[in-house]
Each structure stands twice: as structure tokens, then as C-alpha cells.
Amino acid sequence: MARYDAERVGVAPWLLSGPALLVFIALLLAPLLLTAVLSLNLFSDTDGVVPSYSLGNYLEVFRDDYFHEIFLRTGGMALAVTVLCVLLGIPETIIIARMAPRWRSLFLLVVLGPLLISVVVRTLGWAILLGNNGLINDALQALGITEQPVKMLFTQVGVVIALTHVLVPFMVIAVWATLQRLDLQVEWAGLSLGASRLTVFRRIILPQIMPGVLSGSIIVFALAASAFATPAIIGGRRLKVVATAAYDEFLGTLNWPLGAAIAMLLLLANLIIILGCSKLAERRFKQVFE
């Protein structure tokens, strides 16, 4: 394989990546660091933020059942959304990948379309659909399937549905990329050896698109766990998730250090879960990832 001679390349790579690095440092790393420092400060109702350092905020989150519930709920919802995205996204991608080219681009646009609309607008749309007097409940009652409206707005189910819709495109894009590399002859080889179509999918196609499924899952899980707008609008004020809880600490009770601690814990939890899962998966599907 051709390689660049490190000595001849000089400073060009640094110059080229410089602008992006600066933006990255100024707009992501610096605020993150400030938030980390803030999370160690204390808060008093009379003096506001006290510039002393302790792990008090973290201990508070660890001790309080209220926060346990919020973290568990967030994790559970993110997991549910990820599972749904995998279940919906994989067949969706495979079907689209096998359409005639004309239809393929049309349907890809339909799938990716939601990404073009503001998350707030889209979520408000879901709120209209899911409400007690919304389209879905009206339809269910008109068809005589239920007598009473089914409560979906301000429930976890509603949040999971809306988040899944928002995040499925990321799964489709990730799986699409690995599916493109799949050799149709490999599938034929499976059939010719006597495997049913289902077995071919399970034993031959699925393991080979695992890298895409995994990276899609990581994106979906991270975005679902830290989602703000959708849980805030569909979930309402009472069904809190970590992101809305941090928001409330910052802007409701004005306890910035506690809000910062919650935000840092969310980041940490996300990192641990994502890195742990990808390590496990990489070991399991070693041959495909190399």
C-alpha cells in the first residue's frame, strides 16, 4: 500500500486540520472543562455558586432516589429506542438497498427527510398526533378499537415512539454503508449450500453488517440518552429525563453546580456504556471488524 513519507509531509496536515481543531477546542473542550469545574463547586440558596471544591453534588445525585429514577428512566428509554431502531432500521435498509435505483433514491429521501426538519417542529407534530384528541386516538375510536382515548402524550411510550422516528435515519445511514460492501454472491453461496433465506440472513448477512449496526446503535443510543427537545415536549414537565433534569437545575432552581454534575454524569454514563458495548461487539465479531 502506498504511504505518505512522514518527513516530506511537513506541517501541511496541521495547517489543514487547524481551523477544525480550534473550533473543536474553543466550542467543545473549553465549555466541557468549565462544566466539569463548575460541577465541583457548591451552591447555597443565599450566595449562589460558592467557589469551593468538593464532590458534594455527585454524592447528592448518587444518594437521591429521585435522580436514580431519572437516570434509570433515561437509560431504559435510550435502550428501547436503540432496540426499536435496530429492529426497524435493518429491514428498512435492506429493502431500500434492493429497490430499483429510481425508487431507491426516492425512499432514501423519505427516510432521511425527517433530518431536514427542525426537531422542535417535528416533535410538535408528534404531539398533535399522539394527543388524547389527536389523529391516532380519533382514528382508533372511529374504528371502534378503543372506547377511551389511549394516553400516549406525556408517557414514556410516546417519547420512545417520537425518538425512534427521529433517530431511525442514523441507523439506516450506518447500516447502508456496510450493506453496500456486501457481495451478492455471498448470499447466493449461502443459498446454494442449502440455507433458507432466513438462515442466510441470520448466519451470513447479519454478522457482516454488524459493524454498521453497532455504529448506528452507538449514535442512536447517545442521541437518545442525551435528547432534550423530544422528552421535554412529548414527555412534559413531569416525565423527566437526565437532560431535562439538568436543564431544570440550571434554569429552574438555578443550582448550576448540581446541573453541571448531572450533565457530567450523563456524559460519563454514555461513554462507559458505548465503549463497553463496542469492545464487547468487536471481540465477538472480530473477523468482520478487521
Partner: protein
């Protein structure tokens, strides 16, 4: 009775007829090569036999059973694909074992048959490797072992050697042929490489535009091509355009420029436009003045075992090959005499020549 019969197979894609009324009978244990240029329908034919492509018309009968509408996974054929199509996430042994598992072969028996298959393709001991860790030639062998492990009654080879380098390809030709003879398995090879078709097969089916234009043993197909297309596709040839000038019950006399060529055992109407063919290796170099005509050497290329020569003569540029017997032939620019035996001349009508590719 034929073991595999293709009857009037037609496959159309819109207006394009990929296979256009193809008939083929393959005997048990026979090795058939479908030979033709790309787009001649040979791969579509193979895929129809495998069941990946549903023919628009026609019938496929294998061992007395009509399999035209049988699903590919129920046909039980061994297939070696052009890209090998190994399962990258499985070891060599798992790849070979996959088909056995699908057939419900017990685990202990599977291990034994995987080892047998690996022995057969001389890859014993590499069962735990992953395909990525193998060379192209080794992957090819795994693909063959995987196809043969299920003990299919028909083996399909889809341009299996096209990804190998020339030397390895020659070795694999001989080896695959030996394996095929040893197992006595009926085999169909798809290829555009005439050397490959000749080395391995019992009969060659030359395909053109979705049809088989000639099916013969390699020797017959090479020596007596039925069409200019088959003649040009199976090796190199010299073609001389002329018209039939004289005829009697033993031969045709064809006027080519100012030369009369005698083609024995042929009969054509007087004045017919024809091509006279002669293979490069059938032309002999003789002393100047003797032989049928003379010419000037335009090109002399050394190929190791052969000399390739082009001689400018009154018949036009004549290509010939000479075995390397230790003495170089006359240099470029020298005058030489050329000769052939009339029995080596072939005659084909010119109308058909329009189909030449």
C-alpha cells in the same frame, strides 16, 4: 440418457434476450465448458441452472427431475463463484462445514468431511484460518472444497480462475480437472478463456448472442469450427477472403487475390464469397523458392516456447507460430518461403462472418 437437460431456455430482460433458445444435454460425469465473450449469456445460463435466475421460457431437467421452478436452496448444487464468495466471518472449516450443517449432518461426521474436503484441495491444516489470511489461490481452493463437501451431483464453476494470476491459473486448471475426474462429478464451467475451456473440459459449448453455436470436444471445436466466430474465439487464425472459382467432387478452388487455394472435402456453389482459414501453427517455414509462396518477415517475437512471426506476402499479412527448437528463425526483413498442407485449410461462408466479434 442425458443427466442434465436444458430445453429451449429463454431469458429476456425487457427487450434484451440474454438467452435465446438454448438447448444443452450433459452426460453424467461430463465436464462441459460454456465459452463465449462477455454478454453472450453464459453466466445467465449458469445462474438459471443454479436457480438464481428464473428463465422466461424452457425447462431444466436434472437427473430426471424437473428443477425449473425449484428454489436454489433446494437444488443441492455445488457452486464456485467468481469472487469465491467465502463467508468472511467464518473460518475455513466453518465455511466448508456450513453446507453440511444445513443438511443436518451430525457434528462428528461434519468434522471428518471437512478434513476430507481440505485434503482434496491440499489445504489440510488451514481449517482454523479466516479467508482474509489466505492467498487468492488458497481462497479459490476453499471455495471448491466448500462446494464439493456437500457432495453435489452437479458442480457449477462461474469463471472461477479469473482472479488468479496466469501461472496459478494453469496449475489450478490441471488440479481442478484431476479432482473432477477423480470424483466423476458432472461439471459446468463458464469462462471466456479458451485455454481454460480447452484444458479442463470434455466438450466445449461455444456461445454467441444467447445461443450455443457449436458444441464439440476441444480438438474438434478447434480443428473444425462451424463458424468464423467459433474459429476466431478458439485461438488465433488467419482468414483469407476469396470466391469459389472451381469445384469438383473432391475439393473447392478458391481465388484469393491472384492465388488459387485448394480446400479439400468442401463443396460450395461457384462464385460464393467465402473465407479460407488456416491456424498459425499449421504454416511451415521452408527454404526460399520452395513451398507455395514466399514473403518478407515483418515481425518476429520470442515467447520462450514459441516464435511468433508475421510474414508479408501476396496473400496479405500471414501470422504463424514456430516451436522453439533451439535455432532462431530468419530475422525481420528477410525473405522466406512458406508452405502448408491443403488438409489444414478450412472453408466457411462469408455471410456468417458478419457475426464475427
Amino acid at each position: 440418457m442425458a443427466f442434465l437437460t436444458l430445453e429451449g431456455i429463454v431469458k429476456t430482460y425487457g427487450k434484451f434476450r440474454a438467452i435465446d433458445g438454448l438447448n444443452l444435454e450433459v452426460r453424467h460425469g461430463e465436464f462441459i465448458a460454456l465459452l463465449g465473450p462477455s454478454g453472450c449469456g453464459k453466466t445467465t445460463t449458469l445462474q438459471s441452472i443454479a436457480g438464481f435466475v428464473q428463465p422466461t421460457e424452457g425447462r431444466i431437467v436434472l437427473d430426471g427431475r424437473d428443477i425449473t421452478h425449484v428454489r436454489p436452496e433446494q437444488r443441492g448444487l455445488g457452486i464456485v463463484f467468481q469472487s469465491y464468495a467465502l463467508f468472511p466471518h467464518m473460518t475455513v472449516a466453518q465455511n466448508i462445514s456450513f453446507g453440511l450443517e444445513m443438511r443436518g449432518v451430525p457434528r462428528a461426521e461434519r468434522g471428518k468431511r471437512v478434513d476430507e474436503a481440505l485434503d482434496l484441495v491440499r489445504l489440510a491444516g488451514l481449517g482454523e484460518r479466516y479467508p482474509k489470511a489466505l492467498s487468492g489461490g488458497q481462497r479459490q481452493r476453499v471455495a471448491i472444497a466448500r462446494a464439493l463437501a456437500i457432495r453435489p451431483n452437479l458442480l457449477l464453476l462461474d469463471e472461477p480462475m479469473s482472479n488468479l494470476d496466469a501461472k496459478l491459473r494453469e496449475e489450478m486448471h490441471i488440479e481442478l480437472r484431476a479432482i473432477q475426474r477423480e470424483l466423476g462429478i458432472t461439471t459446468i464451467l463458464v469462462t471466456h478463456d479458451q485455454v481454460e475451456a480447452m484444458t479442463m473440459s470434455d466438450r466445449i459449448a461455444v456461445m454467441q448472442k444467447g445461443r450455443i453455436v457449436q458444441i464439440d470436444t476441444p480438438f474438434e471445436a478447434y480443428e473444425r469450427p462451424h463458424s468464423p466466430f467459433a474459429s476466431a474465439f478458439l485461438g488465433k487464425t488467419n482468414a483469407f477472403a476469396g470466391a469459389v472459382q472451381l469445384r469438383n467432387d473432391r475439393c473447392c478452388h478458391v481465388q484469393v487475390h491472384d492465388t488459387l487455394m485448394h480446400v479439400p472435402h468442401e463443396d460450395r456453389a461457384l462464385g460464393n464469397d467465402v473465407n479460407v482459414y488456416i491456424r498459425p501453427e499449421k504454416i511451415r517455414l521452408v527454404a526460399l523458392g520452395s513451398g507455395r509462396f514466399s514473403g518478407r518477415v515483418r515481425l518476429r517475437v520470442f515467447l520462450g516456447n514459441l516464435w511468433l512471426m508475421a510474414v508479408e506476402s501476396r496473400l496479405g499479412l500471414v501470422h504463424m507460430t514456430l516451436p522453439n527448437l533451439g535455432t532462431p528463425p530468419p530475422e525481420e526483413g528477410s525473405e522466406v518461403g512458406l508452405d502448408w498442407s491443403d488438409d489444414d485449410l478450412r472453408l466457411l461462408d462469408r455471410e456468417v462472418a458478419h457475426g464475427q466479434v
